[in-house]
Symmetry: C2
Subunit: 189 residues, 2 copies
């Protein structure tokens, strides 16, 4: 489990990282079951999670208690509610496990320590933030300019893995489409 994270870091920062093992030791392994929450909106997000295995859903409830999924994150990626994590304010989003997952969590104190002790780790945060930002920008532009059918086609082209891995309901909520509409449009392809 730790190996996945070690590989991930080495892949990005190279092999010459001082204190790599100390860094790795600051992460706490967490096992979550399918549908279990690791963050509920209103709470403060205390951790940044590295997903060693599994899949997480980041979402908000709309007024009718439907959930709208802002992001779906799979293994070998980072997931958190960075705004809450960084500011200490209550999170607006919730995060739950779509599948049983293996996570490595690091809290704020350890995160800060690491940024100071391991200079390169500062880059990790920047990378996480930049990747998250790029992802959001991309998503907005996709969203605003494509209709329901085009969004489905987009997902099939760029994330075909998600099409088979996730339930229709979840995909529809990720694409911002009603699940019945998703079902219909998918059929006519």
């Amino acid at each position: 489990m730790i190996d996945t994270l070690r590989n991930h870091i080495v892949k990005r920062l190279g092999n010459d990282i001082e204190n790599l093992e100390i860094v790795l030791a600051s992460f706490k392994p967490i096992m979550v079951k399918r549908n279990e929450h690791i963050l509920r909106s209103g709470e403060v997000c205390k951790y940044v999670y590295f997903i060693a295995k599994g899949c997480l859903q980041v979402y908000v409830h709309d007024k009718d208690m439907n959930d709208t999924t802002r992001d779906i994150v799979i293994e070998d990626n980072w997931c958190s509610e960075l705004i809450s994590f960084g500011s200490g304010q209550a999170a607006t989003e919730s995060i739950k496990a779509v599948e049983s997952s293996e996570l490595l969590a690091i809290d704020r104190r350890n995160f800060q320590n690491m940024m100071e002790q391991v200079p390169q780790f500062d880059k990790v945060y920047k990378q996480i933030l930049e990747a998250s930002y790029a992802n959001s920008v991309y998503r907005i532009n996709t969203f605003v300019s494509l209709n329901a059918l085009e969004r489905i086609q987009w997902l099939m082209e760029y994330r075909p893995d998600l099409m088979t891995r996730l339930s229709s309901k979840l995909i529809a909520s990720y694409l911002g489409i009603n699940k019945d509409v998703f079902s219909r449009l998918k059929a006519q392809l």
Copy 2:
């Protein structure tokens, strides 16, 4: 013009910044006329801009050459295509002036220098990035969960200034609504 930036920085980082004047001197003033581009998609974004006065539109073209506006940024804020600026890759978005504007531009080299010479300036970048990210997340969640009418109401509540300052066409494109639909719904409020 420089005063606006000085105030902006002091407001965030406090008054005890070494080399503040040197920092400010790294910015190049740029005047842009209404409708003038400062970045076209396909080019590399070479600057981060501080808007001393005016208003910029960040947008992409969809397949029918309509533009869909990802962001509208007004004076006393930062604007850039951060992904391109950071990576040196071609920008996917374009940026143009909605009004005649006064900008202060800093290029990558100066930006890097400053991060090294003025330790606190590193924070500025992080703040810009975090603010941009938070903005995007907020926008996605608003967008996915609200219908056209609700999005208009949302804008009227949180950014009433934009409602009067911008053309209907631009607002509609920012809200992801057809301009005729926007006109109709606005009338029935």
